[in-house]
Amino acid sequence: MLGLDKKDTSLLIIVAILTLLAPFILNPFPAGSAMAQFNAGYPDLMQRFVIFGIFAIGFNILFGLTGYLSFGHAAFLGVGSYSAVWMFKLLSYNVIPAIALSVVVAALFSLLIGYVSLRRSGIYFSILTLAFAQMSFALAYSVLSNPKFNLTNGETGLQVYADDPQIFHRDSLPDMPHLFGLSMRSTYKLDIGAWSFDFNAGYYLCAVIMMVMFYLAIRIFRSPFGMMLRAVKSNQQRMNYTGLNPRPYTLAAFVISGMYAGLAGGLMAAMDPLAGAERMQWTASGEVVLMTILGGAGTLIGPVLGAGFIKYFENIFSKINDTILHQWFSFLPDGLEDFMVFIVHPFIGKGWHLTLGILFMLVVIFLPGGLVEGGQRLGKWIRNRGKGAAEAKTKHEPAE
């Protein structure tokens, strides 16, 4: 189907089903119950899941295939956001021109940075991209927001003000990002028994775009171009000797992943029309690296899983406070309850960074292939257990 083989088709279908049914899947607990704390099916977080999914898929095209570790990809995301908000300010709140411009601008920006940075490889490449991204951040945060030439609005973030031109804006259109009149904030709420599910227009726009982007990524992975990129990763020298110049291929991969990042940035602005400079900071670049590695670099689904994992942590674990802990452990005797709260306390709420750091280390140490490898091992273990020990001994997995 769509030029994919059977395995990829089923992967795409699974992803499609998961994203389309996300409002159900992410809200497994009845609203109002103690476990509702862990529900993630509200519009803002679902949007973040898919947007950062797109960002990570794009990053993986560069890092997973060519092995070039960029520490500056957040700059493209930031540039995308800024361009989108500028379109809102100048034209109208329609998201189509905003997203289109954010991809174009990110492509140009990544072409420029990629052209320079790709003259080096390895850690030098990482440092170069890091340097460019930090420069962009510093400039966006302060210099480019000076009153005479205010491009980014600095600390506060670029946003739409009432006195902006918005030349195509009409009164009948919603006063926030919309798709031909359909507001990105409009949410349909469905209550079934004790459960409650949100269907948000913005989320579904992002979800559809992510599926298209995921499909494109599969095509790139399976194309001769993708093969070339893998060749760059495995042995660049040999590639040189066979008379192939790897530069155009890596540059193309860099620009494509930059465009993915720009698209993600544009979508972020489309869901919430504000663009801040922190999006470009090197820690934000580090975050997408974490997502990709955590999920499984070089795999198709890994980066999306990693993005979901980290965003879930950031938004759910950071909100658990001591009061909630006491509720959880209230069934225990008093002394034990306090003890349990004391034990868990450093890892939740304001300690969510610590938990994330520990989990991340564990994954890098024990699961170099990320969550995907974890899933595969688990799957293999279950299969083997089913087949019995004797059979497992003789079983040889064919090399892929």
Binding site: D44, G154, A201, D272, S318, N321, K350
Partner: protein
């Protein structure tokens, strides 16, 4: 599972897509449009406390959180009641708000606009928070204020000192109890002139972002009006950790006062560096060299340690203030947490009580009604003395404190001493003041999310 609990969660906007009628069996009950965002229908009402819990301002955020928890206790009639006993409005009875028990959810702003908006959204969309309170930077305050305006909930700002929050970025749904850069400058200038003379030459170091610029602009204007001269204004990158190369040329520049328009870690380091260079022991232009820090906070004072001795600055509130409200608050905060409250804690505490009181007086949680009740509200007994929530820009007007690092503090908490309580008349300004967006700045329309 009571049915009330479920519908507690409102919806943001029921838009066109919602109408794209999926034919539903009768057991599926799509919730009807509420009167306003997150209308509380159960026995409880949920407040959202959005403070920095990670990052450099985590300790300040923690202090704010403690104060907010204390406020919730007092609202629910637990503890000693704190400022409920001294507050001039007697609408609050200690039985929650409008008879509903107060609960709260917390979020981490990380002192980043994006993260702050994400956690505010999650509290509004997921937990059904009816208002958002707190925060520790102007960038975050302006970003979250805009979000609350769009979502149709009330935003009570925490520590935010930039003129813009109630200036060009003011919003109908947003309220600020904290003072601002203009007020700091207006309160400091006369004291500076009295203590240091009217013919000083000032050298400014300014954090290179929006707050720094407004702070510098305000204080330069106020001091120049009394006859001071501004020798130089040097912008320092926010990410700087060492300011020696900015401090070193100060002595040789002909200046005799150094103004540090820095906050947080920047201020702690730049002040430490300035003391290292021995600036305070020097004589320039025949006068003793002086340092001024326009905005002080207790945590910065603690971070800067002994270096703050004799350095002048301004504050929104200090626990040593001697009035009934302040005493009641310090007593209940101190007895519960074993330390006196910081000025950001006091602001967050006061904001929760002010919000609750406005709901009671308005008889509704509807943001438009609450906003109306807060506008032009005059009160006393929350610690700052007589205060006005001005209707034109939602800025509180009250006395401003000028403080100085104490020479001989007797314990860890009285490192700052109050030099003067500048009366509110002196820090008043017109709502259309050019530093506050001029005539173009407007609050816009109230949004209840309906």
């Amino acid at each position: 599972m009571s049915n009330n609990e479920l519908t507690r969660r409102g919806l943001l906007r029921t838009g066109a897509v919602a109408g794209a009628g999926v034919a539903l069996p009768t057991i599926f009950t799509a919730s009807s449009a509420a009167a306003y965002t997150n209308e509380p229908t159960g026995a409880t009402v949920t407040l959202g406390f959005n403070v920095p819990q990670t990052g450099p301002y985590a300790d300040e955020g923690n202090d704010e959180l403690l104060a907010q928890q204390l406020a919730v206790e007092h609202l629910n009639g637990m503890g000693d009641g704190g400022c409920l006993n001294t507050f001039t409005s007697k609408a609050l009875k200690g039985n929650g708000i409008l008879g509903k028990k107060v609960t709260f959810v917390t979020g981490d702003t990380q002192t980043k606009s994006d993260a702050a908006r994400a956690s505010a959204k999650s509290m509004i969309e997921k937990d059904g928070a009816i208002m958002i309170n707190g925060g520790s930077s102007s960038g975050v305050a302006v970003a979250v204020q805009g979000l609350c305006q769009d979502a149709g909930v009330i935003f009570m700002a925490g520590l935010t000192h930039s003129n813009d929050t109630t200036g060009k970025d003011r919003k109908k749904n947003g309220f600020r109890h904290f003072f601002n850069a203009y007020m700091s400058a207006a309160a400091l200038a006369p004291v500076l002139s009295k203590e240091m003379g009217a013919d000083r030459r000032a050298y400014h170091l300014t954090a290179d972002y929006t707050w720094g610029w407004t702070q510098q602009e305000s204080i330069a204007a106020a001091t120049e009006a009394m006859g001071w001269e501004t020798v130089n204004n040097v912008l320092t990158p926010l990410a700087s950790t060492d300011f020696s190369s900015y401090i070193a040329p100060v002595l040789n520049s002909g200046a005799d006062v150094l103004v540090l328009n820095h906050y947080g870690g920047n201020m702690v380091n730049s002040l430490t560096n300035a003391i290292q260079f021995g600036l305070l022991d020097k004589v320039a232009n025949g006068k003793d060299f002086k340092i001024v820090v326009p905005l002080y906070s207790e945590l910065m004072a603690a971070g800067a340690g002994e270096n703050i001795k004799g350095v002048l600055g301004s504050m929104n509130y200090n626990w040593q203030l001697d009035n009934e409200g302040s005493k009641a608050f310090v007593k209940s905060f101190g007895e519960k947490y074993g330390k006196p409250p910081s000025n950001s804690a006091q602001t967050c505490y006061a904001q929760v009580l002010l919000y609750a009181d406005a709901c009671e007086r308005a008889g509704t949680f509807n943001p438009c009604g609450v906003a109306e009740a807060l506008e032009g509200f005059e009160f006393d007994g929350l610690g700052n003395g007589k205060t006005l929530y001005r209707a034109d820009d939602h800025q509180c007007f009250k006395d401003v404190l000028v403080v100085r690092g104490a020479q001989n503090p007797s314990n860890a908490y009285d490192t700052l001493e109050i030099v003067e309580v500048t009366p509110v008349e002196q820090v008043m300004y017109a709502p259309d003041h050019p530093m506050f967006g001029g005539a173009e700045a407007s609050l816009g329309e109230c949004n209840s999310g309906a």
